[in-house]
Structures are given as structure tokens and as C-alpha cells.
């Protein structure tokens, strides 16, 4: 009994993975064939990007501040408080900026994508769209994926800048250190490979959060309760995937750009 349950669950996981990849591949390749819904791309960029600026700005600023606070004491033990700027900037750009932005945006937008598309499924709006001769994958999913990829990169830059600013505020006003030294150390020690790491990750995270959100939304069954379930699955899966994929990307990028 237990073995058959494990077998069934394993098969379901494999099937879901297979369906997810087929779904995401189709949605991504739609960009190469008309019709391309540019207006929807802009609308989604506004909803996902502009709508997320406030949360990214605040979370980035306070994370940078916390990093500066936490690191100050440890660095003081080694007489290295001067490198707080380098520490905060590198951590934000290489790691926390992309991951934090990915997780925050997935909490806000993967859930909204899953619930919006799920509601459209249960109210037959997706069927109506197909019946009216419009491909819902092309109209609803493709613009969400590409706009998420683009805006997550931009939001990550905002989060990085705010994180460095937050670290500077803490360093100057709470740790009573020199602002010029903080920014000089940050600027001096950031190299090309750090920027590449910081820029590559959001591209993957944007793709993941939007494709997972849309995938669970489009698979919704079982009425309004099903919409709730899809939303939970989308948020959990996208957040876990972002953190797991971050490990893989970091590993690969560190092997390409060794320290």
C-alpha cells in the first residue's frame, strides 16, 4: 500500500515536471511567431515592475542596513570595520539583491498570476478566449514571463542600490563610520564578475516565478477552493525554486569566474 502510494506520487511529480517544461517551453518560444501581444507585455511590466517597486525598495534598504549592523561587530573583532562597504555591496549585488527581489516579487506576483489565471479558468474565461480564436498561452502567459524577466533585472538593480544605501545609513548614523570610506570600499572592490552574477540571476528568477505562477494558475481545477490551492502552490514552489536554483547558478558562475 505504502509503496504504491510512493510510486503514484513519484509518477505525479514526474508528470507535473514534464507538463511544466512543455508549458514553459511553448510560452517562451511563442515570442518568435506572431501574433505578439506587445500591449499586454507593457501592461504586465507596469503591474509586475512598477507595482513591486515599493516592496523591493523597502526590503532592499533594510536588508542592507541589517547587513551593516550584523557585520560591524564581527569585522571590529578583526579591526576590519573599514570593509563594511565592500561586504554590504558584494553581498547585495552577488546574492541578496537578486534572491530577495526574486522572493519578494514571487510572493506578490506569482500568487497574483496563479489566482488571476485560476479564476479565469474556473469562470470559463480561458475557454471563452480560446473559443474567440485567441491562444491564452500567447495572450496571457508569454507577456507575463518576458515582462517578469525584464523587470526583475531592473528591480534587482533598485534593490542593490537601496541595500547599499541602507548599509551606508547604518554605517554612518549608527556605527559612526565614514561615508566616503564606505562608498570607496564598495566601489573599489566590485568587479565585472560580481555584476555578471548579479545580472544573470534575476533573469532566471523572473522566468521561474512567472512560469510557475502561470503554470499553477492554468492548471486550476475545483472552483474557488482550487484557486486558493493553486496560489499556495505557486508561491511555495516559486520561492523554493528560486533559492535552490540560486545555489546552482552560483556554483556554475563561481566555476566560470573563480575568485
Amino acid at each position: 500500500m505504502a509503496i504504491s502510494r510512493i510510486e503514484r506520487t513519484a509518477k505525479e511529480i514526474v508528470l507535473t515536471m514534464q507538463e511544466y517544461h512543455a508549458f514553459a517551453w511553448k510560452a517562451m518560444t511563442n515570442i518568435f511567431r506572431p501574433p505578439i501581444y506587445w500591449t499586454d507585455f507593457l501592461i504586465q511590466s507596469d503591474i509586475i515592475g512598477v507595482g513591486s517597486v515599493a516592496i523591493v525598495l523597502l526590503s532592499g534598504f533594510f536588508t542592507g542596513g541589517v547587513l551593516a549592523l550584523q557585520s560591524a561587530k564581527t569585522l571590529a573583532n578583526f579591526g576590519a570595520t573599514a570593509i563594511t562597504g565592500e561586504f554590504v555591496a558584494l553581498t547585495m549585488i552577488r546574492e541578496l539583491g537578486p534572491v530577495l527581489t526574486g522572493v519578494m516579487v514571487s510572493g506578490r506576483n506569482a500568487s497574483s498570476m496563479a489566482s488571476e489565471l485560476g479564476s479565469m479558468i474556473v469562470t470559463e474565461q480561458i475557454d471563452a478566449m480560446r473559443a474567440l480564436g485567441v491562444d491564452p498561452l500567447r495572450k496571457l502567459v508569454t507577456p507575463r514571463i518576458y515582462s517578469s524577466i525584464v523587470v526583475l533585472l531592473l528591480l534587482t538593480v533598485v534593490a542593490d542600490a537601496c541595500g547599499i544605501a541602507g548599509g551606508a545609513a547604518v554605517t554612518v548614523y549608527l556605527n559612526h563610520q565614514n561615508a566616503t570610506q564606505y562608498f570607496h570600499m564598495a566601489y573599489e572592490h566590485i568587479i565585472f564578475s560580481d555584476l555578471v552574477q548579479g545580472a544573470v540571476k534575476p533573469l532566471f528568477f523572473g522566468y521561474l516565478l512567472s512560469s510557475v505562477g502561470c503554470f499553477y494558475g492554468m492548471r486550476t481545477t475545483g472552483g474557488t477552493q482550487g484557486v486558493g490551492q493553486s496560489t499556495i502552490k505557486a508561491v511555495v514552489a516559486s520561492a523554493v525554486l528560486i533559492i535552490s536554483i540560486d545555489f546552482l547558478i552560483t556554483h556554475v558562475l563561481l566555476s566560470i569566474f573563480p575568485a
Binding site: 501574433p35 470559463e124 474565461q125 471563452a128 478566449m129 480560446r130 473559443a131 474567440l132 480564436g133 485567441v134
Partner: protein, 274 residues
């Protein structure tokens, strides 16, 4: 065969043809070995209680659900294994009214009604406005042009859905319980619109319903364009182009006209009629 013969055979060929269609969803057989046709100009009323697969059958006609077995022809083209993208041109020739209207919440009545037209960049905004006004006038809701679906009543939503289905002058209309959950006055109004499309534009249709009164209203009345209302046919007469199908537990148990339906000896049909 001459050109005339060709056009005659095309004209006579059914708009919809099902041959031994079986549909399975989630491991459960929903429709089993269904065969029927819808001829040009014919209105077929699909009767049956809730949960017997009526809505599924309607979605199968439009390629929204794929059958497990059997063959389906729409407008003379076999759609059984047609890829989704090849189905879009056929769907553009078909109008479909969903059970609850299925209007897009984020779009105005104008954009909902014009949804199909908005996909064609060759159609100007002015032309779209004219056609939307025309379609909304057909269903008696011209004043809702700028409103959003959330501010409409259930009956009004259903009428906008009918306007959306008819705006592109479809060659076939599929109605999924157009009067389900509506009050009797609004239901009669909706049925008048179905009748109007049948008698004014002579569009073939397949209408799903579990309400016998709607089915018999379609048979016993015709739409008078002069008076702009449904009027009863002379006593003893019924509309010859309105015929019935009945489903029971996924099987087609009746296919015929109103007289055959009334005289049917099939137990389930009798039970349903009584």
C-alpha cells in the same frame, strides 16, 4: 460532377457531424459513442439533467475538449486531431455562449463584445464601435456600452455574451444553458434572442438546456421581425428546423423532432418530460 453539384453537396453537408465520439476526463467516461449531425439552418436542442455531459459535448464541438475516440467534423473539416492553432480559424466562424457568460472582468462591455474584432488590426476602432453598437442593439443593451461586467445583472451578462458570440456573424452558434439560473422573464427574453438569431439570420445552432419550457418555446414560436418579438406558431404547428437530442449518463438516448420526443417510449425520456 458539375460546379452546381459541388455547391449543392457542400450546402447539404452537415455543419456538425459526430461519429462514435467518446470523451474521457480524469479517467471517467463523460460521453460514450455519440453520433449525430446538425444540418445547415437547423437548431438542435440538447436536453438532459445536470451532470450528463451536455456542456462537455458543446466544448467538444468547438475543440476545447478532445475526444478519446470517434470523429468530429465541423464545417466539413475533421477537427478530431486538428492542432490547436488550426482550430482558431474554425472557432472564429463559430459563436459560443457560455453557461455564466464568461465575460472578461477586466474589460468593458465594448471590449468584451468586440474581443474577436480587436484581434484583427485591419478593423478600425470606428468600425468596431459601430459593430458593437449593432450587436448590443440586437440584444437590447446598447446603453451598457461603457460599463464593466461587474455592474451588470446575471441576465444582462448573458445578453452581452450573446452579443459577443454574434458580433462576427457566425456560421454556427453554440449556446450552453443560456437561461440557467435566470428568472422567467429574463429567460424568455434570452430565448427570444436565440429565436431571433434562428429566424432572422437562419444560423444553425446547438443549444444545451435542462429546461423543457425553453425547448418547447423554441419549437412553438417564431420571431416576428416586424413586431420585434416572438409570436406563437399557428395551433398544431411546430418549427420543423428545431429538433432534439437527449443525453443520459453520457449516452445519446434520443435524436428526433418534437412529435417523436412527445411520443417516445424510452423510460428516461418519459421521466424527463413528466
Amino acid at each position: 460532377m458539375t460546379a452546381t453539384d459541388n455547391s449543392d453537396s457542400r450546402a447539404a453537408s452537415p455543419v456538425i457531424e459526430f461519429a462514435g465520439v467518446t470523451v474521457t476526463l480524469g479517467g471517467r467516461t463523460i460521453l460514450e459513442d455519440i453520433s449525430f449531425t446538425v444540418a445547415p439552418g437547423e437548431t438542435r436542442v440538447l436536453l438532459g439533467p445536470a451532470g450528463v455531459g451536455k456542456s462537455v459535448l458543446l466544448k467538444v464541438v468547438n475543440g476545447l475538449i478532445r475526444p478519446e475516440a470517434g470523429s468530429i467534423w465541423v464545417f466539413g473539416e475533421e477537427i478530431t486531431r486538428m492542432p490547436e492553432e488550426a482550430l482558431f480559424p474554425l472557432r472564429a466562424r463559430t459563436g459560443m455562449v457560455f453557461q455564466e457568460g464568461a465575460l472578461f472582468d477586466s474589460l468593458s462591455v465594448r471590449d468584451n463584445t468586440a474581443y474577436q474584432l480587436l484581434q484583427d488590426p485591419a478593423i478600425s476602432s470606428e468600425e468596431i464601435d459601430v459593430r458593437v453598437h449593432e450587436a448590443l442593439r440586437f440584444v437590447g443593451l446598447e446603453e451598457t456600452f461603457s460599463l464593466f461586467p461587474s455592474s451588470l445583472s446575471g441576465g444582462m451578462r448573458r445578453r452581452v455574451a450573446i452579443a459577443r458570440a454574434l458580433i462576427n456573424n457566425p456560421e454556427l452558434v453554440l449556446y450552453d444553458s443560456p437561461t440557467g439560473g435566470l428568472d422567467p422573464v429574463t429567460s424568455t427574453h434570452i430565448m427570444e434572442l436565440v429565436m431571433k438569431e434562428r429566424d432572422v439570420h437562419h444560423t444553425p445552432s446547438l443549444m444545451v438546456t435542462h429546461r423543457l419550457q425553453d425547448a418547447f418555446l423554441l419549437c412553438s414560436h417564431h420571431f416576428d421581425e416586424q413586431r420585434n418579438e416572438a409570436v406563437p406558431l399557428p395551433k398544431g404547428q411546430t418549427d420543423p428546423n428545431t429538433t432534439f437530442l437527449m443525453l443520459d449518463e453520457g449516452r445519446l438516448i434520443f435524436d428526433g423532432g418534437v412529435e417523436a420526443l412527445m411520443q417516445s417510449k424510452i423510460g428516461f425520456v418519459r421521466e424527463f418530460l413528466e
